[in-house]
């Protein structure tokens, strides 16, 4: 499965919403993520991609769109 599809799967799982946002659509503005769902999303990404996201990267801006998340995870791999 492609990274974007895996990111979307994590997003839908942690939010419980079967919504498919555009890759550059703000996940906050679209109502998919809020403060607490973001925490679950980050944890879900760590599990799905086997990555450790350091505290220094805990910024909402890094996880605001699917394409930003994809770029961030690519930079970590």
């Amino acid at each position: 499965m492609e990274p974007q599809a895996r990111i979307l799967e994590v997003l839908q799982r942690v939010t419980g919403k079967q919504i498919t946002p555009g890759v550059d659509e703000s996940l906050f503005a679209s109502g998919l993520l809020d403060s607490f769902a973001l925490t679950d999303f980050v944890c879900g990404l760590e599990e799905e991609f086997g990555a450790t996201i350091p505290d220094s990267d805990l910024s909402a801006r890094k996880f605001d769109t699917i394409s930003k998340v994809e770029a961030y995870l690519a930079s970590k791999s």
Binding site: S35, F36, L38, L58, A60
Partner: protein
Amino acid sequence: MSYLRAFGSSVPLRRVGNQEIAQLLNVTPNWIFDVSGIEERHYAAQEDTVISIGLLAAQDCLQKAGITAADLGMILVASGSSDRFCPGPASKIAAGLGLDTTPALDLPITSAGALVGLTLAAQLAPSVGRVLVIGAEIMSRCIALTPEEKNTAILFGDGAGAALVDANSGFARIQDSCLFTDGNSSEILFMRNEQFHMDGAAVILHASRKMPRAINLLLSRNQIEANAVEAFLLHQANLNLITRVAAAVKAPQEKFFTNISRYGNTSSASLLIAADEWFASQTAALSGPIVFAAFGSGLTWGALLATPY
């Protein structure tokens, strides 16, 4: 060795329910409760100051401990919302207690300040004597009740709490503590020009990871299972955050004392107001460890472990 001996608190009389602020923020009372667990908070009257409400909490704590201010070796006052930065409220609170030589120091650290105070007091008490730790905040003057600031405005209330740390006796022995600061993300939570600024999503993200880590560190190095802890007393930031911390440390939610529904987030005061109410509700002697934890500006966070004595 240092001991927790007594707590005290004071909150302004005026209760402000969600209904009162919802219209100003263009939200519903139910939305406020759903995202925060808060039903009401207390707002200070015009004549109240951080000093005046801190003094009331201090007097309440001293009265419960059965000592006088003259018996204190030091006073530590945590506040991020004091109307004067330097000197902060500590010296005036000490003067209000009738003291003119006892060292009184300010800890301008929102939210985590009381935990920092307790941790320092535990280290200092054996050399300076009894240390009175106070957290006092009037956050209602540092927030904007506007729709743009709704995510912050719904949370905060005013109040003060106090704790007495004694070198010789108390109901619990302070066994261990840990404090951490990471200034790399300090811009997500700060006070400037008496206005409070918070990136809520980032704060929750950091706090929901850092607080459980601090708690687990203390439990691990003291070989204590989370289930064996009698009570977790956390900074009352948001009920949903406390629920997440409980899940992360794998302890039952009911072990986490909460009073945020009635006071909101009173920043540095919340930990000690919660401790005072929790202690007052105890009908039997402490039988297990208690864990304090907080997260606040700096970023500063940590935990403190106390065991029955």
